[in-house]
Structures are given as structure tokens and as C-alpha cells.
């Protein structure tokens, strides 16, 4: 064979291989998944940066629970909790995750926001102190200096609830607004105790070798906490969407509870740097699971008593001047499939 004919043969062989390797044309409509037309784009506001504590949403996204429900979910991390609730209240965003007290405060100012799924079963705020401070009950906080991010928000409200349970008022302690520097403030001895999230800072402190005592608000008061929030307009005009959103989220939550290791691996795709701090973050996820765990048939259902208790705290703190209509603030109507 001449060189030219061998070359032609090789080129022909290469071309054939290229043709055989190319993917077959995709069908115009895939029968298993909904078409472009039936997918509704939903923007979900998360009031924080991507974090392992949002694992159920990452699981539901990864496993296609939202897609199966005809929802093209986009998570926005651009605003804080207050900003997100304001956007939902104004109809600029359909869903967000927010704590129950935000809903009551917002509704008292005329925002038509409604809490449709209870995610965190207990209030996540706690007071932490170094073991040598000998603080074992809320009453032991009398006369102490307590550091917290600011005199507003979940940390402040949770602290007041804890103090009240120990028969104390704000005037019985000294509060320092220290921003998000609780761990540093505690270990340097600047504060006797700090207000933290039960599943976060104490884990970090223990892993750093500090012996801490933790007083979780959840041990002393039953308060309504974080959940999925939408607005009245969406409930009235598109209740089916709300139902599908709630159901997909519930699937994500129960899968995370059933298989946290898998949930953690999935979260690595959505949370930058999770791998680098894997041991701490896995511990944080583990500590968080107890906040999401519910009795059979109760997953996602709001507890009216927890809402009443939270409202009373807000009234005591004069953050609410009068009670809001709790029947309109939350609903369990979308929990059943």
C-alpha cells in the first residue's frame, strides 16, 4: 500500500470513530421529566451564605424533588432574613426561610406573609459559657456580662426568653453588643457568657478543646422557629405551587434525617469550602439534626402553643404593641400530600 492510501485509511478510520462516539440526538421531549413549559421558576431567599445547615434544600435539589414537582428552584443568598421577608411581603419573591418571630413582627406592620412549613422544631439559640464560670441554669446568669451580636433579632429574643424562664429580667444582667464575635469574646474572657446558636459555636468551641456549658433556650421554652414562608397572594392564586414546594422540601428534610452522611456529601457541591472543614461542619450538621427531627406524622407541622409562647415574649419585650392574628400567620394546610 502506498503512503497516501494508508493515510486515507487512517483518516477514514478516525472520522468513523468520531461519528460513532458522538452522542445521539436528544429527543425533543423527555417523557419522564416535565417539559420547559410546565416548570415554574421559583426564587427562594436564604438569609445567609451557603451553609451546611441548608442541607435539606441541597438534597432536594440534587435528587430532583423540586424538578419532579415542576419547580425550577433558584436559591438567592443576596439578602438577610429581614430583607427576604420584606421582599416576600411585597410580592417580589415567592418564598423564603424565616423564623416565626419575623412573621409576627412583619404581619404587625402589614406584610401579608404566611408561614407554611415548620422546619426547625425548636429555637436554636443558646447561651454558652466556659465551664469554670459555673453557669448551669438561667438563674445563674444574674449579674453576669453577656455578649450577643446585637440587641435585636433571634439572639436577643432567645436570650430574653431564657432569662425569663430563670425569673430574670434584662436589667438583671449586663448585655454587650459584640457583633458576630462570640467565640473570641468568650475565650478571651471579655464576656462571662455569650449568645450563640446551639448547633454551631458550642461545637466549634468543644472541637477547639474548650470546656463549655450550654444553656439551650429549647430546654426552657417552647418557641416557634425557622420555616418556609410565602405570601398571601401566592397562596390565593397558586396554592398548588405552595403545596408542591412544601412537599418537595419535606422530602429533602426527611431524606437528610434518614441519611445525614449522604446529605453532607451532597452539600459539598453547594457549599464552597465544606470539604476543607469537613470534621467541624459534619459535627455541626449532626448537632442540627435534632432540631429538625419530628415525631411520626408531625414533620412540617407548626405547633400553635409554640407560636403563642413566642408572641408572648414579643409582647413582653414590647416589640409587638398588640397581638397579631396567629390563625392567619401560619398554616398546616399544605403539610398533607
Amino acid at each position: 500500500m502506498s503512503f497516501q492510501s494508508i493515510a486515507r485509511l487512517i483518516i477514514a478510520a478516525l472520522l468513523l470513530t468520531a461519528c460513532a462516539g458522538s452522542p445521539s440526538p436528544t429527543p425533543a421531549v423527555s417523557p419522564a421529566t416535565p417539559t420547559e413549559q410546565t416548570m415554574e421558576q421559583v426564587r427562594l431567599g436564604m438569609g445567609f451564605i451557603p451553609n451546611v445547615q441548608f442541607a435539606p434544600f441541597y438534597v432536594a435539589l440534587e435528587k430532583g424533588y423540586f424538578r419532579d414537582a415542576g419547580i425550577d428552584l433558584v436559591i438567592d443568598y443576596d439578602l438577610d432574613e429581614v430583607g427576604n421577608v420584606a421582599l416576600v411581603g411585597n410580592g417580589d419573591r415567592q418564598f423564603t426561610v424565616a423564623s416565626a418571630e419575623q412573621i409576627m413582627l412583619a404581619r404587625s406592620q402589614g406584610l401579608p406573609v404566611v408561614y407554611v412549613l415548620n422546619w426547625w422544631r425548636n429555637y436554636p439559640v443558646a447561651v454558652a459559657a466556659l465551664a469554670e464560670a459555673n453557669i448551669h441554669t438561667p438563674a445563674d446568669l444574674a449579674g453576669k456580662t453577656i455578649g450577643l451580636p446585637g440587641l435585636f433579632g433571634a439572639s436577643y429574643i432567645g436570650l430574653i426568653a431564657l432569662l425569663e424562664s430563670g425569673g430574670l429580667a434584662e436589667s438583671d444582667v449586663k448585655l454587650d453588643a459584640i457583633g458576630y464575635n462570640q467565640v473570641d469574646a468568650l475565650v478571651t474572657g471579655r464576656e462571662d457568657a455569650v449568645v450563640v446558636y446551639t448547633n454551631n459555636e458550642p461545637v466549634q468551641l468543644k472541637l477547639r478543646g474548650y470546656d463549655v456549658t450550654v444553656l439551650p433556650v429549647a430546654d426552657y421554652a417552647q418557641l416557634a422557629s425557622n420555616g418556609l414562608v410565602t405570601n398571601q397572594e401566592t397562596i390565593d392564586q397558586n396554592p398548588d405551587l405552595v403545596s408542591r414546594m412544601v412537599q418537595a422540601t419535606l422530602r429533602g428534610i426527611s431524606d437528610t434525617l434518614a441519611n445525614p452522611d449522604e446529605a453532607f456529601e451532597i452539600s459539598k457541591k453547594y457549599v464552597e469550602g465544606l470539604d476543607a472543614n469537613a470534621d467541624v461542619q459534619r459535627e455541626i450538621l449532626q448537632a442540627t439534626l435534632s432540631f429538625w427531627d419530628a415525631e411520626e406524622g408531625e414533620l412540617g407541622a407548626s405547633d400553635p402553643q409554640a407560636w403563642e409562647n413566642m408572641q408572648q415574649i414579643l409582647l413582653d419585650m414590647e416589640l409587638l404593641s398588640e397581638p397579631v392574628d396567629l390563625d392567619k400567620a401560619f398554616t398546616n394546610a399544605f403539610i398533607e400530600p
Binding site: V82, N90, A106, Q109, G110, L151, F152, D176, A177
Partner: protein, 288 residues
Amino acid sequence: MDLSTWIKKERKLEVETPHLHRPAQYLLLSTRRQNFLWTVLSMFLAILLWDLFVRLTNVPPFILPSPRLVLERFLQVLQDGSLLRHSLVTLQEVLAGLALGLTTASALGYLLAKSRWAERLLAPYIVASQSIPTVAIAPLLVIWFGPGLFSKVLTSALIVFFPVLVNSIVGLRSVPADLRDLMRSLHATRWQMFTLLEIPASLPVVLGGLRVGATLSVIGAVVGEFVGADQGLGFMINRARGQYDTALVFVAVLTLVAMALALYGIVVLLESRLLSWRNGAEKTTQTV
């Protein structure tokens, strides 16, 4: 007192003007008075447009409150004393921050103006310090210096530092060389050179930097308060946001604006007093 008598008193005119029409009387007002009236008119129009916008678009009060709602809220917090209390805290931080920023910047500015070596050594750090966003450094200041007024005084001082420093250096370097030579020829001491030549000659530029610094100092104090505070107008904004009380946010913001404008006005007044020698040998009576 009627307008014509007032004008006569102002301008020491000998001619009676009651027969002049109002627009003509207006023209006889000093420029300062005319500007004041224009400002009042402009503010009135702005409030009118704001109210019109709210009424026409029916925007919810937690997104954009009406002027009436903001006024109501203002009167409430004025009455219960909380506005005054928080404003005084912020004002304290601002004034202390201005004082700290001004003294350190002008002292360092003198050193750098006099010594090229000092300038070459320190310039990179000074420029870098200005490039660090205040919002990023404010939490660190709370860690290092604790909660309480000092960390807010520091953020305020930091934000004032650079404009005053740069203007001090430029001002001192712009002292005319021939005047220096004259002072030297008259055997002026270093102290006399400083107090009788350098300070008056550099004052216009330094005060220009202070004008900028005065308004920035308010921003600095508020940024410090945002990060960690339990008092002050910045704290009030945070708390109001958390309660979806946008009208109160507006009240706090407008109070901060008024504070910044007042400080700016004081610097302008200071300029006119300290730099009156620039306007001619004869001192004119100051009518404010």
C-alpha cells in the same frame, strides 16, 4: 418687621423700598438669603413629589413610608426621648472621632510634609489603610477594643484620617517659598514659622479636607454602630429594620443627614471666621 425694613437693615440702604414689588425686593436680598429660600423651596418640592409618588403607586409603608408617616414616627420618638438619646450617643462618637482623626492626621501630615524620607517610608501603609473598606475592619475593631463607644470613635476617626492627612501635607507644602525666605530673613524662630506662616497658609486646604471629613465621620460612626452597638442612630436603624418599621429607619437616616449637614455648616462657618483675613484688610460685619 416687614420685608423692606429688614432689607434696609441688612444692606444699610438709605433708599426706602416699600414701593418695590416683591420679586424686586427678593433680588435685594443677600445671596445667602436667596440660596436659603431656594433650598427651602427645593425641599418642599421634594417632599411633595415623595408624597405624590406614594399616593399614586400605593406602595406599602414598609417599602416606602409616606412623609406624613415619617413625621408621625419622628414626633413619637422625639416625645419619648429615644431619638435625642440615640442622637447624642452618635454625636459623641462623631465629635470624638473627628477630634482624634483631625489631631493624628494633622500631626502626621506635618511630619510627612517636612520629611520626604518619612513620607516614602509610611506612604504605602497610609494608602493601604484607606483602601481597607471600613465595613470590613469595623468587626475587627470590636474584637480588639471591645464593644462600647471607643470602637465607634475609631471607625469614625479612621474614615476622617485620610482626607485630612492628604490635605495637611498638600497645604503645608503649598506655603509660598518666598514667604518662607522672608520669615527666615527676619530671623523667625521655628515656632514663629509654624504659627505665623505655616498654619495660616495651610489652613484653607486643611479646612477643605475637614469639610469632607466632617460628613464622613458620621458615616464612620454609623458603620461602627451597625456592627455591634446597643445605642446610637445606627443601632436604631438596625432595630427598626428588625421590626419592619421603615418609617423609623427614615427618621434615623434623616437625623443623620441633618447631623452631617450641621457639621459641614460649622466647618464652613469656621472657615469664614478663621480665613476672614483672606477677604480683605477691612473686617466686614458678619451677618449670619
